[in-house]
Point group: D2
Chain length 450, copies 4
């Protein structure tokens, strides 16, 4: 059986007949390729045979062959995509390893460029020589990714491939080269400047609304009635889109327009609740932010998204004064299980049933204020959501009891939720405080911790 479906592979392979082996291949010849790969993966029936592995490698090399036009290179990349679509998991891993290991920079070229750079240091050519040096040391792996990306569906292919790759990174460090290279390329391709902020509404394509249901990561969307409520007249939903991934939100945020800072998620998710009166809205509550593409891990959009959304909202609703979140505290329970006294944890068994004046309530609030407002881990807030918003320049504003009574909310933080406030005039001041190890917070939070 061939490494590539007959129809797609035949011409591609035929076209590669005359391609000579490059440096990497010589090395591969000394220590046969299949053997090296076998070293890691336990290769079963469904893995590629040595001959198939070599054929696939030749196909990949054909894509970046400098004698081949960009258009032809793209066509060859498409053939590999077609092969991948029907390949078994083991064969896919073979491809990842080939892409990760067989497309390193040519050491000869690197050495030569280094010498040229060294010679230019101290001369007026130093600057250009440095750039050319970097250019020369770029591995062919990068050109390989670029050729894939030229194809209409290529970016989709690469993003999905990297998502698939993620769970395997811990198990095989050799895959990291591919992963890091992809992250690097993606951070350029998905540069914020390329992203388009689009409103998502009930008039958006059903296929897009369906994706909200699929991707929502904070408060699960249970039904079409649920998502319709979140796109009601008193809500806004915005996503970042990329021209190369049409119809695919990379990240999206759900906003409620209200007349006060929300203290509970319950009314926001109530499908039967009446829409708020927009004419009285003074406050925008960001109650859910979800990244959608595991394959874009390490490429960050959130800060920009929130700031663009704030500008868009202010333009539409000049009366908006307050921008805040209603956020979960996903790391609270795990942290408290390490640090809080066992009696308190026991007293919190049924948090929603605690009477208003129960001492455990006040104690939990105090511990939570400490967790969010005072504890740092490697100089950063411990809680991942806190890390995100505080990193953007927000401050810890208010803790809300029983704000998320769902099982997930109780499990994460005994139902507590927190508001982070985006005070637009102090974002940079807050970032500077944080950089000096001081978490910005309201006096109410300070008082809680006492």
């Amino acid at each position: 059986m061939s490494a590539v479906p007959e129809s797609a592979a035949a011409p591609a392979i035929a076209g590669l007949g005359a391609i000579k082996m490059e440096a990497n291949q010589t090395a591969a010849a000394e220590r046969p390729l299949a053997e090296r790969m076998r070293a890691t993966f336990r290769r079963g029936q469904e893995a590629l045979s040595p001959r198939e592995l070599r054929q696939l490698l030749e196909q990949l090399q054909g894509i970046v062959d400098p004698r081949v036009s960009e258009v032809e290179g793209g066509r060859r990349a498409k053939a590999v995509e077609a092969w991948y679509a029907q390949a078994s998991p083991a064969r896919r891993r073979d491809l990842w390893l080939l892409m990760s290991e067989q497309f390193k920079a040519d050491p000869e070229k690197v050495k030569k460029a280094q010498a040229q750079f060294a010679a230019a240091v101290g001369t007026p050519d130093e600057g250009a020589a440095e750039v050319l040096y970097r250019r020369a040391t770029v591995s062919p792996r990068r050109r390989l990714l670029q050729r894939f990306s030229a194809d209409a569906d290529g970016i989709r292919f690469l993003v999905d491939l990297r998502a698939e790759l993620q769970p395997h990174l811990k198990g095989d460090r050799r895959l990291r080269a591919l992963d890091v290279e992809m992250e690097y390329m993606f951070s350029t391709w998905f540069d914020v400047g390329f992203l388009e902020l689009q409103r998502i509404s009930w008039d958006s394509p059903a296929s897009l609304v369906e994706k909200l249901i699929k991707y929502e990561a904070v408060h699960d969307i249970r039904s079409w009635a649920d998502v319709k409520n979140r796109l009601d007249s008193d809500r806004r939903c915005y996503g970042f889109f990329h021209p190369r991934l049409p119809g695919e939100p990379l990240i999206f945020v759900e906003v409620a327009l209200m007349d006060d800072i929300a203290d509970s998620i319950t009314p926001l998710l109530d499908e039967d609740g009446a829409a708020a009166d927009l004419a009285r809205a003074t406050t925008a509550i960001f109650y859910s932010i979800s990244n959608t593409q595991a394959g874009l891990k390490g490429v960050s959009f959130g800060d920009s998204l929130i700031k663009h959304v704030v500008e868009t909202l202010k333009a539409e609703f000049p009366r908006l004064k307050t921008f805040a979140t209603l956020s979960p505290i996903p790391g609270l329970r795990a942290w408290m299980q390490k640090h809080a006294p066992a009696e308190l944890l026991a007293a919190l068994e049924q948090p929603l049933a605690l009477p208003p004046r129960a001492p455990a309530r006040a104690q939990l609030m105090s511990w939570a204020a400490r967790y969010l407002g005072h504890e740092l881990e490697n100089g950063k807030p411990c809680d991942p959501v806190a890390r995100f918003h505080l990193g953007n320049g927000a401050r810890v504003e208010r803790l809300n009891w029983a704000a998320d009574p769902s099982p997930k909310g109780v499990k994460q933080s005994w139902g507590l939720m927190v508001n982070y406030l985006y005070d637009l005039k102090r974002l940079d001041k807050h970032r500077a405080m944080l950089a000096q190890g001081q978490i910005p917070m309201s006096s109410a939070i300070e008082d809680l911790y006492g």
Copy 2:
């Protein structure tokens, strides 16, 4: 006078008060910045004072300050753009030099990354270490360009800046670092995969049609009637557009649909000629290809453009069989003045007046066939247009006497024009021939040279 207009500069500079100097700045302090720059440019009244230079440098450093959010960095970049828009040529050159010289990679970081990479060689981490090494060695200049690009008009700003920079590169090698870095960034941002092929027609925006008039580089467009004729029912015009430069063609090609290979540009540019009957069209003639952005020098679009256009045309007109150009031979006269006998040159004084059987005609045709079909310069065709089409896989097909009787045509090539044929099944074969030093041509051309 401040380096930056008061309104824009004041907050930006105020916000920078606390920023400490980095390595580069220390060096600068030792050998004052202004002095170094004065070394090259003759600095007149309108150049920046030492204080202003330092302020501008601090502004640029503020843009890439890691403690500043991407959004804030973009805002600072915008302030520099506003300053640039009203700056004198001398001050603009100051900015270029600052960007070129003051944002080199940190040698300490490079050294550390080199060591880490060296330690990983031979281990499974080698691949990733190499990528991380490259990542670490990226100069802050690149981040600077990225921050500019985040702003809506930033790409436009950078492309225009680089266009302005071009004529100064020969005079000051220190500017090359900026130029090469920009070319490098642009080749990623303007990756073919991001480009959108759009048809340009008489129904396109007037502002876009006006750009055809402005950018047409082969056969000048004299009037709106001229351009309307080139967008008539028997013509097609396609351009590549980039999502970050809306309404701006990066390159465009003009095509005539005919029933035979064109042998003269005259009827194609005749505004009063009737449109050809599309039902009988068998041949697409590419009679003009123009790059439009001097700032994108070194980023190539032509090959892809032609191939995409061929596919688009075949889809719309399944009867099309022949794809060819009608091209100028811009380098012919200069080359012949070096190589051809003086008598021939003298006999060609009035080429359009030569009778059909004049010996000088046959001789010119033969010399032209030699120029196009046999002469190589550094292994490549001498003529720049030949270099482009043959590099794409076309072949030299036919020479046409008096095909461009305009003064420009006579001046370049005594009115001769050439057809390059794109035989879609042989493009790669032709490229391979060319790589081996053999120029693909028709037997008619071969016979001419005899």
Copy 3:
């Protein structure tokens, strides 16, 4: 209480202060308006008082006041729309009656125009005089409708008003004038030439897909999964849209692309069924057609829709050869209960449980063939669905046992469904046959009836 909400009414009524009463009003004065209206409706608390009635009439008259600009007239219409939105059912009926009864053509004008026309008969002016006569006799009611329609939401208002009016027509013949006038206007405004055929797909706005769920009249859509299945890759859904009712399908048809004529609705509605292979599709099955706007009763779109859809499908899938429906037979049971023997009806108690060779099966098929193929009512097919498709030129093609096993299908026609075949070359021939009282049918149907 005022006839119009204070905010909207105040300026409108103020602006009407100076308007004098016209002919109609004089008549009204003789026999008080409220009294006449009271004659029919039992007027409760919520009906308009005599003073309010007069105010409302004045408002309506203000809309068509010839001294008022079109724009001002439109603004006044909008005020009435706002009043209507919050009016009680009784008050709404008051408005209908005013519109129906108080805006008749002026008898004086009609008389005068008649005389002018009579004088022109036989002269070259006869033709124009006739048109002018018609123009003169147009009632102010029509101008009233036109003024409402000028407002952006006015067409929506009128269509909804007429839908609301429908159930009351039988009870009060005086409302018919308004109803017939609206039908007349709508048939011009919704002229097929204004309609735009649009494909509705899973990429259409969620709000539009939701309307399919709401409007589907043949086979109820039970869920979003159900509607998604009907918009799958092997389906097509098309609707007619009008520029004045954006996002609102006036009629839509659901089509399945198959390799044979469907004999059961079950697999078509199976959400878990795999999509058919489009490359093999030879047959388009129209399995549901729904009108959506009760207010457009009497304006017919169906014939055009099917013919446009057939053309659109042929362009996308040149291999399609057969166009047919899979249709319910809604009138079968009621008709058979009049004409078929009681024993047969009894034997059909559990039709889905009947064994293949049960005599009742053959008998039902025979009766159904007679019902669809031989029985006429006022010269037209008895069954409403048959009337529609046969009127379009289709023929009765095949009866399908147990094709719709749903309770509704069993109730209407013991689960029987019928295919009507659109033989594109014979549509006009079939129409001609039908006009002569002969129902076109396949030989299979003929045999059944035998």
Copy 4:
């Protein structure tokens, strides 16, 4: 030779074989059609023969044949359109006459409907009977026009046909029936509610901008530079578009945004003048309004256009306070030649050369104030432009000396231009004044007339 090009006609005529003659045809048979038509037109070689006339009539009748589907009717209409496109002027006139004369309402039907209506008078059915009566009396000519309009290009065909018809109306009164019927239909189809206000800018399609050049009726556009200036950043141009005539402005207005009421057209048409600063604009000057479609004569758009544009401008520029025109006075010279003393006319020979204090200047201003502010013709302003703006509710604001020094301006009004002011709060008051025979004007104009 056939009346219809062979390709189009053959199937259409073949399909008509079985159609029987209707009432009109019987009449035509008594007094042969061709003879009647010959009576008016002098019929040359290129006119239709009697046989061809009959064939064409049959074709037209086939279009409205009630036994034929709407789709088929539309197809037949298309065949006639194709015939018309290549028909000679004489043959086109034949078609007009057939359409005008041969599609009258059936007198029998009219009589019957009249009787039904008479019987319903005084009953609750009276209202509906009246509408049905009108419906019954509609001539088949109207259905004929509707069938043409169903075709995609049909509205374009009808509008152009009516434009072509205009110059012939005076010469042959029999054509008026067709003309009046078309005006009637167009006033419904082109109802303001269907029109879309679109901004026309330098980013609009070149083909649309070209239409401005073609249609501009007030101040001729001399070149693309001229039109570009009129679409500059300190200008706005808006047109009404209809969904059935895409890309075709029905009427358009050119607006300049200024800081004061314009007193001369010269700077507005100066291609080299700098654009005004939008931030300071307080005044919108409507300096040109052009109707574009002769075929839509009698259908009025201007009032609505101006009011929609005012709203649009106020939304974009909240600082705008004043809306006024700078208008020609096209009828001034002709009127003064009837009423003013010969000496004044003589003194105005070279108006632009008159010194500021020349008595003729003051006299002309006074006469112009009288012409615009006091003279009525049939109760309406004499000047056509005054009639339009005053009819919309504007007032005469200011006369401007040498405001249009072009030959046309001098010829019409010795270079005088006038501002009409749209005081948004007084439009209806002004209309009411005008209805009572009093022309609204500023005190400055009143003073001039003294």
